[in-house]
Structure formats: structure tokens, C-alpha cells
Symmetry: C2
Subunit: 344 residues, 2 copies
Amino acid sequence: MRFGFDRLAAFCRDALVALGALPEHAEVTARRLLEADLRGRTGHGIIRLPQYAGRIEAGGIELRPDIDLLRETPVSGLVDGGNGLGQVVMTVATETAMTKAIESGMAWVGTVHSNHAGAAGVYTGMAAERGLIAMYTAVASANVMPPWGGRERLLGTNPISIAIPTDSHPFLLDIATTVTSHGTIKVLAQAGQQMPEGWVVDLEGRPILDPTRADEGFLMPIGGYKGSGLNLGLGLLAGVLNGAAFGDDVIDHRQVPGQAANTGQAIFVMRPDLFRDFDEFRSDMERHLAALRASGGDDPVHLPGDMAAAEMSSRLRDGIPLGDVLLDQLRALGARLDVEDGLD
Amino acid sequence: MRFGFDRLAAFCRDALVALGALPEHAEVTARRLLEADLRGRTGHGIIRLPQYAGRIEAGGIELRPDIDLLRETPVSGLVDGGNGLGQVVMTVATETAMTKAIESGMAWVGTVHSNHAGAAGVYTGMAAERGLIAMYTAVASANVMPPWGGRERLLGTNPISIAIPTDSHPFLLDIATTVTSHGTIKVLAQAGQQMPEGWVVDLEGRPILDPTRADEGFLMPIGGYKGSGLNLGLGLLAGVLNGAAFGDDVIDHRQVPGQAANTGQAIFVMRPDLFRDFDEFRSDMERHLAALRASGGDDPVHLPGDMAAAEMSSRLRDGIPLGDVLLDQLRALGARLDVEDGLD
């Protein structure tokens, strides 16, 4: 079944308000979740609402957070999220970074005491829509693999997103530095499908194919030791640099829903006109991206952001599809919380 | 055979001066090349000198370049390298970025009309030694693969380096976003060894194992579409953003040695004390890195920068080993250019 963006966002917002969130925090969180669904990033969309509800009900998220700018300069900020909803904290961080970047040329804003904030590309996309370059990374909300050569889970799926404005939709990379992520595994599990080899291995290096057994194994980094090193470097910048959780200090936010996660994120925003005239830059971007798209001969080549832009226009037109398992979960949540439009 | 750093650096410097380079440019280039060798990044060390000599003699590199800061703000710069030696241009860019970052908190400096600058980690390492965080990327000096799903070589091995200071040697990631790089292939070719599967494929996707035939195929990105997207995003930031060559505009600097390459690079430098007290940050880095190193049980876990630091101390003590093929090339070059210490 398909539902409009506004209807699903209203459902999310109303559910979060019923759980005790401030109306403006509920609204922001709902929008960030559905913006992920709009882009086809379903693993970080409304599928997360039941999990967030579980953490809120277990006392793991502060619904009246003090969100403070602990440190700042004209080009930097450290946002203490006060253990508030991650989408709210990252929206504050992104807006702070954009404002500073417009004023000063660039800005790097980190977060501490934040929570899972959903799809990386939602935040870098906000900057690209305003003609700004953005990069985002985070310490993911659970450890899923050892460093290359190690045997203890000390690293997460730490994502990287890069967004660059063009004349049309932005170039928008949004990837986990693991071959897959828990969001994607969750989507497969709900669809009753198997995982391909190379996603998850057990302690002896044997592949695990059943997505419901993924937690028994390790996720694999992209590119072996290279992706492992990149994942680690990004985690240090999003976690240790901000005084947020990293390594042993990271809790699995699904396993211990009542515990504060102290998630760390970082967003960097930069004006392209520091280096070239903006119009010249955008048209040169278009020229190069067009050549790349045409490089498959008769096969279409999709660049980062292309599928998301196509999904966005079709989902804005036709609605956002929800699978049966998720829809049942959302309806049960809506009934329990007495949300008026229960998606029936 | 092993040679001391100073002796090899003097050989490089003298050869470059004999080729017509300014003494200070020859000195800087020699040091950057040998610093790569010291770290064990042999593919970007003195092995490149014969190739640079070829480009200089063919007129492809300007030996009296005007190196200009075309644009600048307190946090940014665009360095026009005037088609000078890449190590010289990138050293100017790195020093500019460090000076601005110390003053303003952070800085992003791009290059245009630059040339191949060797090992990424040499530049980020300069910043980390001064207690600064650094990231570097570049458009590599030849196209080696299509974008994911494409059939035309439009992307290079575009590297990424991240350096973060600690209490001891820095965390220092320095990777190509392809499974391998031409520097590594060149080392294997000189050693007469085969490439493993997964490095290079031909137009039909079949593996090529002979390193001397690598140019017939495509290099593979790390992590499939993910690494391809990352490679592309980095290339846009190092190339298109600076008005440097990208995509179709990139020449293979080995194939057309007489042509200016218009290489683009970018380095970002940031003070860690924007976010945390520096001592607290460094000791927290050490704590986490120690836990990661210990996570292999009886197996040692090497983190990015660990092997380079170990290589550096052993090579400073025992000298830098040169293989026979390379040594013959260098001796022939030295004899031809009448360099006094011909490494005999």
C-alpha cells in the first residue's frame, strides 16, 4: 500500500507527540524520517519509528533535551544534543553548519550526546539544495565488526555522505562503509529474503545468509583493509573528536533501549564559490556528470543521487509504498498510542 | 641494496637540478618522494623519478612555474601550480592550509594546473605532525576505470588520506579508492610477480593477472558501486571544484609526457581543539587505538599509520631498500645526467 508523504509524516509526528515528544521535535523527526523514505532510503525511514518508540518508552531518549552549542567559532560548533532525538540534534547541527558556512565560507559542526539520526543524505541534501557542498559522517548506533585483523566488534557501519550541488538534482553519495547496513538487512528480513554472500560472516569467516541471524556475525567492510581503515578514520572524527561514544563505549541502541547512546555525528558544509564562480562550477558539474551517465553506451549509468531523485519524484506523485509487516507494526503502534489517523 | 634517506634525496635533488629544476623545487620534490619511501609507500617514492624525468624532458612540466594563490579567504585557497612539479605545488598548498587552519580553525586549499604529487599521506602527515587533523584527495594522473555500470575509462584511482594526531605516531589512512593502484602494479611488475584476482578486469570482466598487461583492463573500485561513488565524489571535489582536469579532460601523464596534466588536488586541515581540549583528545585517541590494536587476541592488528611508522623507524636506521630493476634505472639516469653520486 502507498501513502502520501504528508499523511505518513503526520502519523509519525502524532505518534511521537503521543509518546511525549515536543510538537516541534516530533515534526522535525517525522520529516527527516519520511525524507529518507522519499529518497528510497527505506532502511532509515519510517521503518525506524517502532524502534524509536521502544527507546523512548524505555527511557533511552530525553524528550525535553537541552540542546546546547558547547563550543563555537565562526567555522565550527560542537552541539550537545542532551540525548534528544537524533533527527532534531542533527537538524540543529546542519542548520548551524549552513549558517556559518554561508557567513564564513565553511564550517564543521560535530555532535555529542546525540542519537541515531537516520539517513546521512537527508542532511547533506539540505545543504546541497541551498547550493552548498556538504559531507557527513557518524559513529553508527551499534558495533558490527572488528578492525581489519581483529576479533572484537568495535566498529559500526559508519556512513559517509558527500553532496555537491549541480544545475539539477545534486550529486549525493550516501553509503555505509560496510558492504551492507542493518537498515538494509532489516528491509530484507521483513521481505523474507536471503542476504547475498559477502555481507555477513560468522566468527570463523563462513557466510551467514539468513538476515534474522545477521547479529551472530560480523558485517564486512567495503574494500577489505581499506574500507576498514576509512570506517575507523570517520568514526574517530565523528566520535572521539566530539567526546562521543566510540569503540567499547558504543552501545547497541536496539539491545539496550533504556540506555543513553551518546552518539556522535559530524557535518562539514562549504561554499563552492570559494574556488570558482558558482554558475561556472555548476555547469561544469553538469557537463561531467552527463558524460559519466552516457558512458554505459546502451546501458544507463546511475550516479550517486540519480536513483534518489527519481524515487523522490515518483514517490511524491504516487505515494510511499509500505510493506505489510511494517504497516502492521505501524498500525499496532498507532492503535496503542491512540493516533487519530491509524493508516487504516 | 639499501641507501640512506639523505643520499637518495641528494641523488633525486641533483638529478632534478640537472634536468633544469630550481634547486629549492628539486629539494622539496626529492624530500616528498623519499618521505613516501620511508613510509613504505614505494609506489609513490623514488620509483617515480624516471617518469618525472621523462615528463620534464618531453616539456610536460614547467620548471620555472608561477605558483599563485588565485583565490583566498581566511579559510580557503586555490593554488594555481603553473604546471610545476606536483610535490612543490602540494607542499605550497599544504603549508597554506596549515597556516590558515592554525589562524582560523580550519582551511580547505585546492590546486589547479598541478602535477602528480606522490603519496597522499606525506601531506596529511605534515599536518598531523603539527597536531592538526588533515584530509587529502586528488584526481589521479590517469583514468583507469568507468563509473559503476559504465564502459569508458573516466575515473582514476583517486586517493583519500585522513591523518589524526595522537600521543605517538598519527592515525594515517592513505588509500586509493580502487582495489589497487598503478604504483603498486608497477612495484609488482618490477618484481616479476602476478596480480591477484579482483584487481584488474578486461572489457568482458575477465581477470587480468599479468601486471605488464594492466593497461588493457579496468581497475576495480573498492566496494563496487560504493567505492565507485566515493571515487567520483572525491574527484569532483579535487578536480571540478578547482577547475582542474576531470573525466574526459584527464590525460595519462605517462602516455603523453609532453602534455600539461592540469592535475587537481585538495587538502583540508583542522584544529582538533575546536571541539575538545587537545591533550584530552590525544589521550582518548590513544586509549581507543590501543583497544583496537589489542582486539586480535594473539594476532597483531595494524591500524592505518602503524606499518608506516614501523617502516619509517627501520628505514631511517637501516636505509631504504631499492630493487635491482629500479636501481639500474636510477644509475642509468644518474649517468646520463652526470649526477655526481651515481649510487654505485
